[in-house]
Amino acid sequence: MRESPIKRFGILASACSAVFLLAGCLTTSTCRTFETALPYLDNEPCASCPPSKRTLVLTLAVNDIYCADTACSCVRYIANRKYGELQNLLKKKYNIDLRLKYFIEPYDFDDAIAARKYDGAISKPWRVYAVPGTDSYRRVVDIADPDGNRWLWGIVIVNKDSKFKKLADLNGENIAMGNKCAYEKHYSALKLLAERGVKPGKITWKASCLESVGILLDKEIDAAAISNYALEASCVVDIAQKDDFRILAETEKIPLTSVMVDTGKVSIRDAERFRRALIAISAAHAEGKNFHGKFLAPTHWCPSLEALKERGEKEKE
């Protein structure tokens, strides 16, 4: 059935507005480093793109906290995202051959990214940018978690029975924080403390939220900066419950999970083709049988200068 010209104009106008709004966001934001979101090539709505006759083959490394193939089994009830159905749809409808290599161990993922073996990645964006030589990666789309949340942030928690009531109370105290490869519980958390004028007496650096929560429960530390999802979608669920803690403060928000391509390997045009296919599939199959996520146009985000400068440096002890 043909759509009326007025309706078609309406759809086109909405699509154009959305694209211009996003483009506006990307260009007007103050970014001291580089914008990680892939810029839009033009404002052509994806629905009208004909499938290309040329097969686009993309091999991505995956380390996704909500993916059943990379998450710990203790959170399988929530981390149950599967990419098989997406791969089938991309091939069938868009002639895109998406090949995925799953990495359960983030350090193995880092090594694979450093070796530049892949055309891109599906992961937390900083996990890629924390590896030196990855500035050519661009976020094609962001992926929302099963509850529709697209953001990642750090939370500063204390034990439920702690005497500390607000962030300022942590002046001079011992706080556990994350390693440099976890932006939200390292750089964002340090930024939060600096902005609020909080100077910890000691910082205990930990690679895992599970370790930080463990020593918080043992009262070896006074507070911990951990990832916002850790109390519900990480191994922490096996040692504690959300109600065992109070959240004193939250950090800035950054993208949670993104599909990224290495524009040093994949042309911008092919990356755009991939993005449009993903967003079109997401719109048509948002509640896909086994996907448990949603692709969204990438939000603005540029990592801090300090974080980029420290790439490749040894973790703090």
Partner: protein, 310 residues
Amino acid sequence: MRKQLAILLAATLAALPLMAKTQAPAYKVDDSYKVQLRSSALYMAVDSKGAVWALLRSGEVVQISPEGKELKRFKPEMDGDPSTLALDKKDNITVLSTKKESKTFKVKGRKITRDVPVAAYYAIYDATGKKLKDGELKGVTSASAAHYAKGKLVIADVGQRSLIFYDLTAGKIKKQTNKGIRLCCGIFDFCVGPNDMIYVASLGAFKVQPFKASGSTGHGFGKRGNSVDDFHGCCNPVSVAVLPDKSIVTVEKDSTRVKVYDPKGRTAKLIEGIQELVKGCAHIPLAVDKKGNIYLASNKGKIIRCVKAQ
């Protein structure tokens, strides 16, 4: 100057044996040992003659000679699911089982059903497979690992997240501790070392946590990290054993890493050439014998042996 150099050289030479003693020994996979079982092992222990006893997922108990030949097989009667076994000083086999019930929980608005352990049982057999004793382990909800220490059966109760010291004669718990024990994925393993010192694979803390038989904790080692001395993955190590020379063996899953630490847990040596033994978050059965050989089981029924590298 010459005198200073001579003193330095003498001091270095004197320290060499000490340094060698504190370093972890190197191990390699013994390609001559080939054991493939029809069902995978849940737990293993080595008897005084060097034979491996394995409790299989099928519920059978199998004895394998040091040459890799099957010597004995029997199927114990038990309530609940087979879960672990332990050998006492007389090489009698204590088989433990765990009874589970399905329970539904609500998490973030989603209903999830999980099997929750509710009771544990034991049965003791001699080496011929004859039952000597059995009963319920009162107050114990599960048994994922068990060993004898100071005459008590020590049980890893994942349901209560506790190490339980059980007196089988009295039929009751003598002691229970959960201090310093951080578990994950329903995995809970430990071993008994020299002087009945207990070492827990505290995978939720990325540590090996020692306990005295009195229940008090010692100083543990380990942290999450990328070096060979650290533990990787979402939670590790999944199993631990102490060798006769007091070196400590740890096993990590996803990806499988088997390492031998010096007795203080400071530095580790990776055993090269071991393929993935399990997929996902799963326990990897580990046992050591008096000669210092290391036995590991895969979830496909394979048992491998690692021996000291010459």
